[in-house]
């Protein structure tokens, strides 16, 4: 795509002055957007800037309160998701909205099943699903398997296949890469390129600037529900510019400096930990003041290791010793008592009480601490939650709001913020920055580093290799349920880690790459 | 009256004329006297017998020009009935006629009303406390079981069956009246040296009767006699019997519904007899309540006041006397 203004006939979608108000929040406040056929149009903005709301307006989920939506040259007002889909707009939503007890194929064709007289053509659906998944580089996911049995990344791929299953002219992707590991993102980009080559437009949302640089053509930046910049060239606009248009400040995407003090005494000692079929012989130590990162592919068993250490899964082999005391396997309460905290991977299902206020979510582990003789102290809880909200730049800052009304990234901050309260000695973080915007991400890095500096041990998993390398003191690399390398972060670089992570699957992948 | 008519009668909601007593000019008590307000309460009718009780009471009251009939609906359980009665007391009727969900549970209410100076006529389900009622008129549940037991015992002895297989299909087992019926049945059978081989409890409904009947037939491949406590649920029991093509035994019913009496008269089913427990007692209760309200006695008796306790005899209806009872069937 050229970066100068092309003929208007190219424009498939044009939004002007779109407003969407939720009680108490004007989520969109006069948004302008112009998307052309065959381009990847990136939406940037801080958590809560209104990106998801905007795409929900496009997808017919929300009706705008004001403004004009032009689709293929005509003003439209979609009556519902069905109408938008019919018009040729397909969407991958930020929150994974799949049905657990339907198969992969059924999820992909939900609502537009290949059918006659109401009977589903299972074979046809399966075949087409196989083709779609194959296009996505995941022909190995069986179409007849229940979605419930897939990990988060697998579900994301199904969501993508679902969007592809509509013969759409515009595909909207709301943070599709948030749950994807590095190699998967490459895959995603290959698909996006295929799509755009066919003249299909893509609206792409991500908080990872380097992705936008790689795949994007033009960028529209949202700030507080308003368009703060339109149609910037994705490749050439300086990061500093983008960030300042998003945040009004200039924050660099940098990691806090590692202190050169030696880590303290050993906090966590894991020996020979194993669960059959998931991981085996995991040994690891975390010292006070140390940040240990685990890198690996999706499905390499990282989350399982974290959950087993925490007692959320029952260890079948090995020991977990915290502060010199062995923890009983499969007992979260004991782990928490021993001073371990964990921010789990899936915020919606594993971490949040969506209907409850923010502060109660933040104090979910600590509320007994603020209580006197079993009586809770709401004032104190709110004050403490407020402190963390400030620290993490939670928006909106009103801690009495229901968590459900927060944007995805802000929900993630609540999950992490929970463990900043109370006296956690070892913090386990599974994908802590999933969906968190650039500015807040820097804050979060700083918070994690500060925690370590105060003597807390941190054990973190992230699918972003630079994050693991940049933030950790020591890095473990996992592959297929085993730790294949453990080294100080300074001794590893991105290439090394990727090599380690993917050894064994590289050959096959390369063949495929050639084929594609 | 063929089979067709038989069925239709059961679908009528109107009370049977024979179950009430019209103005009898030869009886001085029938003459209009002091106006009496009678409060009435019976459990919500979800089954034929209770429905007949309420209908009879209403119809009997309607036959007297001097009676004001105030019915309060008693809902689904004792608590609901207590609640309804509270509002009735507030209206200060002259007499209360009450068929309680449970005599013991409503004993306290009886006491309260009597203390408040309102005579209480207990219909069918006795209060344990003698101070809680002015008059008790009730059927004889134990006697019903006894009657059924004797009918079956005699018939089997006559046939010369030595160790008979006897089935019993009871009504709702949590009701005390069911226990009394079964106790009477057991005692009467014992006098012949017989006992119940299998006892199932249904729920006074035809569908539950069918189910328990079917199960009973299944458990007992050969049967000599069955006593089914209630003719309403008996419709279902008979259906089960006919579906299973079983006829090696005879059955005795209970209560005395019109359909049962007709079946007995027609003699084309295994139902050979039924032992009565007539809802006509409700009509009598209203008549007596009126007399109590007017301070009169029963004209055939020497006593100047209505006696304190009347127990209806449980009669046995067979093919022979069915025609006389037909008009009493409900």
């Amino acid at each position: 795509m050229s970066e100068q203004v092309a003929e208007t006939s190219d424009v498939v979608l044009r939004l002007s002055g779109v407003v969407k108000t939720f009680p108490g929040v004007r989520a969109l406040d006069g948004v302008e957007l112009e998307v052309r056929a065959g381009e990847v149009h990136c939406l940037l903005g801080q958590n809560g800037a209104g990106k998801s709301t905007l795409i929900k307006v496009l997808a017919g989920v929300h009706r705008p309160d004001a403004g004009r939506v032009e689709w293929l040259g005509e003003e439209v007002s979609f009556s519902g998701p069905q109408a938008a889909m019919k018009a040729g707009i397909a969407t991958i939503y930020q929150e994974l909205d799949l049905v657990d007890y339907l198969t992969v194929a059924e999820n992909i064709y939900l609502g537009h099943e290949p059918r006659s007289f109401g009977f589903v053509h299972k074979g046809q659906a399966a075949r087409q699903t196989g083709e779609l998944l194959g296009r996505l580089g995941h022909g190995e996911i069986p179409p007849q398997r229940l979605v419930k049995s897939l990990p988060a990344a697998g579900k994301q791929i199904v969501s993508m296949a679902r969007a592809l299953s509509h013969s759409a002219k515009l595909i909207i992707m709301d943070e599709p890469s948030a749950v994807l590991a590095h190699d998967e993102v490459g895959n995603l980009f290959r698909i996006i390129r295929e799509l755009t080559a066919q003249g299909i437009a893509v609206v792409y949302i991500s908080h990872r600037l380097e992705e936008i640089r790689e795949i994007g053509d033009r960028v529209t930046v949202l700030k507080d529900g308003r368009t703060s910049a339109v149609n910037l060239p994705a490749r050439s606009t300086p990061t500093r510019d983008l960030v300042s248009r998003m945040t009004g400040r200039s924050i660099e995407y940098v990691f806090p400096e590692r202190p050169n003090t030696a880590p303290g005494e050993r906090l966590l000692e894991v020996r020979g930990l194993g669960r059959s079929g998931e991981f085996t012989h995991v040994d690891l130590d975390v010292h006070a003041g140390e940040i240990v990162g685990i890198a690996g592919l999706v499905g390499s068993g990282r989350s399982e290791v974290l959950e087993t250490i925490f007692g959320a899964r029952q260890a079948e082999a090995g020991t977990v010793v915290m502060n010199g005391k062995a923890l009983p396997p499969g007992n979260v309460a004991a782990a928490v008592r021993a001073g371990i905290g964990m921010a789990p991977e899936e915020r919606k299902s594993q971490a949040l009480l969506l209907g409850e206020p923010i502060y109660r979510n933040m104090t979910l582990t600590t509320f007994p601490g603020y209580a006197t003789a079993g009586f809770t102290d709401a004032g104190k809880e709110q004050a403490e939650a407020m402190r963390v909200a400030d620290q993490l730049e939670l928006r909106p800052r009103d801690v009495r709001r229901a968590v459900r009304t927060l944007s995805g990234g802000n929900q993630q901050k609540v999950v992490v913020g929970r463990w900043l309260l109370g006296d956690t000695r070892l913090l386990i973080l599974d994908e802590p920055t999933r969906g968190v915007d650039v500015g807040a991400r820097a804050e979060l890095y700083q918070v994690i580093r500060d925690l370590a500096a105060s003597g807390v041990g941190v054990l973190l998993v992230s699918s972003e290799v630079p994050e693991v390398l940049g933030l950790s003191d020591r890095v473990l690399v996992m592959r297929e349920g085993r730790v294949v390398r453990s080294a100080p972060a300074t001794e590893l670089n991105e290439e090394d880690v990727l090599d380690l992570v993917m050894a064994g699957s590289l050959t096959a992948a390369t063949t495929e790459e050639v084929a594609a | 009256a063929g089979a067709l008519l038989t069925a239709c009668t059961s679908n009528e909601a109107e009370p049977n004329a024979a179950q009430t007593k019209g103005a009898d000019t030869s009886n001085p008590n029938a003459a209009a006297g002091k106006a009496v307000t009678i409060g009435f309460s019976a459990p919500a009718a979800d089954h034929g017998w209770i429905a007949a009780i309420t209908n009879n009471a209403k119809a009997q009251a309607g036959a007297y020009s001097d009676v004001t009939f105030k019915q309060v609906e008693a809902g689904k359980d004792a608590a609901a009935q207590r609640a309804a009665l509270e509002t009735l007391i507030a209206e200060k009727p002259d007499v209360i006629v009450l068929l309680p969900h449970d005599g013991k549970e409503l004993n306290a209410f009886g006491l309260k009303a009597m203390e408040a100076g309102i005579p209480v006529v207990n219909l069918d389900r006795a209060f344990p406390d003698a101070l809680a009622y002015r008059l008790q008129i009730k059927g004889d549940n134990y006697g019903m079981g006894v009657a059924a037991g004797h009918y079956i015992g005699k018939a089997l002895k006559a046939k010369g069956v030595a160790a008979p297989v006897i089935g019993e299909i009871a009504g709702m087992d949590e009701l005390e009246l069911t226990q009394e019926r079964s106790a009477g049945f057991k005692a009467a059978l014992a006098t012949y040296g017989f006992s119940v081989t299998n006892r199932r409890a249904a729920r006074f409904t035809a569908d539950s009767g069918q189910k328990e009947g079917q199960n009973l037939l299944q458990a007992l491949p050969k049967i000599d006699a069955i006593w089914n406590h209630d003719d309403d649920q008996g419709i279902g029991v008979l259906a089960a019997i006919s579906a299973a093509n079983r006829s090696e035994f005879f059955m005795v019913g209970g209560a005395g519904s019109k359909k049962a009496i007709e079946d007995i008269a027609a003699d084309n089913t295994v139902l050979k007899a039924t032992v009565t427990y007539s809802p006509s007692m409700a009509s009598s209760a209203i008549s007596l309540a009126r007399l109590i309200g007017q301070g009169k006695g029963m004209s055939d008796l020497v006593e100047l006041q209505v006696p304190k306790e009347i127990i209806l005899a449980s009669e046995t209806i067979t093919k022979e006397n069915a025609s006389t009872y037909l008009k009493l069937g409900f």
Binding site: G225, L353, T365, R401, R404 | K76, K104, E105
Partner: protein, 352 residues
């Protein structure tokens, strides 16, 4: 569909802070109560014109709400905690029957009360054990308990209604304190304690957390199983208390007592705003729910409707009552918003 959240996802209620919604909901129920009162006044002006009668009638309504109200408090906790207790009616019967056996009665009122409560709590613990540690779904476990407890109660009572001869127990239902029946006071005390427990203690917070998202609660270090067990024990405790209240009212107990109380209690809790899927609910709402049901029955008695008509009308009233709550809520909110009474429209995301 279950709780309407999904459908309303885009609706204005989404953001709404829970307490305000609970308030409107309760106001809706108060409206229903007033409407019932008004209907009564139209039907029977003679009675409703008499202030003594009206006061007394209110006490009658509350007295009749007392036992089921106590049960509903326990039920509310169980439902908020993500469960359900179908056995409450049966446990009342079992506790009541056990407390009125000749043997128990020989220990006097303290013995009877102790027995009723111990039986209730014990059976509740069994429920809790089956659910928390046996991993049975609450519906099935408590249904099994319902059936078994009714059977046990029948066995203990020999299917006879057992009369209470204890003057103290029997007098409870007659006692009044400052004109308020003792049973009503017991209900208010239980509800008050329940309110404090739910809203002001860590126990309540855990209950809400477990019902809202059991996995999140577990990962936050809450002992989900132990707590779940306590919830059913609490419900059993309420059944024990209710059993004494019912025994006192009826001066007797029997195996068939408190029939279908489970449905009434669940319905009252839901009408009061408790989410059947767990995680949300209020004691005050449940209390109003129970009182509405009691007032409906009372009005029926006063209007002297035939039972079948009662039932038809009752079905309709339930529907209308719930619809009123909803209409009131959303329209009033809109009204308030239009007149700037509620949270202001913000041009930018809220910065409180």
């Amino acid at each position: 569909m279950k709780d309407g959240v999904a459908l309303n996802a885009a609706g204005p209620r989404w953001w709404k802070n829970e307490s305000a919604e609970g308030l409107w909901r309760n106001l809706g129920l108060v409206g229903v109560l007033l409407a019932l009162f008004a209907i009564g006044a139209v039907i029977r002006p003679d009675l409703y014109g008499n202030i003594d009668w009206v006061t007394n009638n209110m006490m009658v309504i509350l007295t009749q709400a007392a036992a089921i109200g106590v049960v509903t408090v326990g039920m509310t906790f169980v439902i908020i905690g993500g469960g359900i207790d179908l056995s409450v009616g049966a446990l009342i019967a079992l506790s009541g029957v056990w407390a009125t056996t000749v043997a128990t009665q020989s220990f006097g009122p303290a013995g009877m009360i102790f027995t009723a409560i111990a039986v209730g709590v014990g059976a509740g613990l069994v429920n809790g054990l089956l659910i928390a540690y046996g991993r049975l779904v609450p519906f099935i476990a408590t249904l099994a308990m319902l059936v078994a407890a009714r059977g046990l109660a029948a066995a203990i009572s020999g299917k006879q209604t057992q009369v209470s001869n204890d003057q103290f127990i029997n007098s409870l239902a007659k006692e009044r304190v400052l004109g308020v029946p003792l049973l009503v006071i017991i209900l208010l005390v239980v509800a008050g304690l329940g309110w404090v427990l739910l809203n002001r203690t860590t126990f309540g917070r855990r209950t809400i957390a477990i019902g809202g998202n059991a996995e999140a609660a577990r990962l936050a270090g809450i002992n989900v199983r132990g707590h779940t067990m306590l919830l059913y024990a609490l419900s059993g405790l309420c059944c024990g208390i209710a059993a004494i209240m019912l025994t006192s009212l009826a001066t007797s107990s029997q195996a068939a007592a408190a029939e279908l109380y489970e449905l009434d209690a669940i319905a009252a809790a839901i009408i009061g705003g408790t989410l059947l899927s767990g995680g949300r609910g209020t004691i005050v709402g449940s209390l109003f729910g129970v009182i509405v049901f009691s007032a409906i029955t009372n009005l029926f008695a006063i209007a002297n409707l035939p039972t079948e008509v009662q039932n038809m009308v009752k079905g309709a009233i339930i529907v209308v009552a719930v619809l009123i709550q909803q209409v009131r809520f959303s329209s009033v909110t809109q009204f308030a918003r239009r007149h700037g009474l509620s949270r202001p429209k913000a041009g930018t995301p809220q910065q409180t």
